[in-house]
């Protein structure tokens, strides 16, 4: 007779354990860390560039870039003033996981930094399932993607600590119902902090940068 053995274990538990180790390591070095997620083209790298332009004078910032191929984004981060930029090529994987971030952390002397920005692979589905061990998860939505994204990608909108709404300078040209968008966000992630901004005009970046600074200064 076969015997039924109770397991009741989260399937992502192996990744979650490694994420906890990453978290302990980042925390011990006193660095504040972000996991930036978004669909391709939402403006992750642009938000990082604008953040670096405003903060690289006051903070020591490291950027870890996840992409399926190329080091274009890490190069852009370095050019924009990141003191260290590490490229992780996932070789086809559609997300970063805790093991990949651990590999990148081993290449960084974390104590040398105040802020660590991890740019995830452009994807609105998979990165939500893989915790990395950063302090905050941030989703960058953008106006051209459309106002229905919270409804179509609830997993991603549910799990984040802050939401950037990028490219608001395009609102006059695109049929994007902000009320409809925000109702979806509110149902999935009540009270989540939002930062409507434009990397082109600079509008709203001040609040985003202030939030980052506050998190860095008040410790983790």
């Amino acid at each position: 007779m076969p015997l039924n053995v109770s397991v009741v274990e989260n399937i992502m538990s192996a990744n979650d354990r490694l994420a906890q180790e990453n978290h302990a390591r980042i925390n011990a070095a006193g660095v504040f860390s972000l996991n930036l997620m978004a669909s391709p083209g939402a403006g992750k790298t642009s938000v990082i560039e604008q953040t670096l332009a405003r903060l690289s004078g006051q903070l020591r910032i490291a950027v870890v870039d996840g992409d399926i191929a190329t080091s274009l984004d890490a190069d852009r981060a370095a050019a924009a003033g990141a003191q260290a930029s590490i490229q992780i090529n996932t070789g086809g994987e559609c997300h970063l996981d805790a093991v990949m971030l651990r590999g990148a952390l081993e290449q960084l002397d974390l104590k040398q930094f105040d802020l660590l920005i991890v740019e995830n692979v452009g994807n609105l589905v998979c990165p939500a399932d893989f915790r990395l061990g950063t302090h905050k998860s941030v989703l960058i939505a953008s106006i051209p993607e459309g106002d229905d994204k919270p409804y179509k990608y609830p997993g991603m909108y549910r799990g984040v600590d802050a939401l950037v709404i990028n490219k608001i300078d395009l609102l006059p040209y695109i049929d994007f119902k902000m009320d409809f968008f925000r109702r979806g966000v509110e149902a999935l992630n009540p009270g989540v902090m939002t930062f409507p901004l434009s990397c082109t005009t600079g509008e709203g970046l001040e609040q985003w940068v202030a939030w980052l600074l506050q998190n860095v200064k008040h410790g983790t």
Partner: protein, 125 residues
């Protein structure tokens, strides 16, 4: 998608629990997957047949139990399914709601054969 890493995780967890229970063979796995966890049953079974080869879980059958996503309204207590179009409470239109079910992603249990079972098989043969 990431079905391969998911399948590797399932294999690691099931082998660990099977070993603890003194299993000689794992025959069935019971997975509980919420509607909001994106995973394709067929691809997981496909990867399973490849990576479980030469382990005690080779040839095991994966059973997927799906859990529909459901919201609970904090204002009026109403439970309702997630229909994708309107996430607000259909009863009172509040968006003060919480996910009550649908994000499960667990290996619930496994069926195993132990050494004694194998002995029985041998005797029968």
């Amino acid at each position: 998608m990431h079905e391969l890493s998911v399948t590797q995780s399932v294999l690691e967890i099931s082998l660990r629990h099977a070993q603890q229970a003194g299993a000689k063979r794992v025959t069935d796995l019971y997975l509980l997957i919420g509607q909001l966890s994106y995973v394709m049953d067929d691809s997981v079974q496909f990867y399973w047949d490849m990576i479980a080869k030469d382990t005690i879980a080779e040839g095991a059958t994966l059973h997927f139990q799906r859990v529909p996503a459901e919201f609970r309204c904090l204002d009026c207590g109403h439970h309702y399914p997630v229909d994708g179009e309107n996430l607000a409470c259909p009863n009172c239109e509040s968006t003060n709601v919480r996910l009550a079910a649908g994000d499960e992603f667990r290996l619930e249990s496994i069926d195993i054969e132990t050494a004694e079972d194998s002995d029985v098989h041998l005797k029968e043969q």
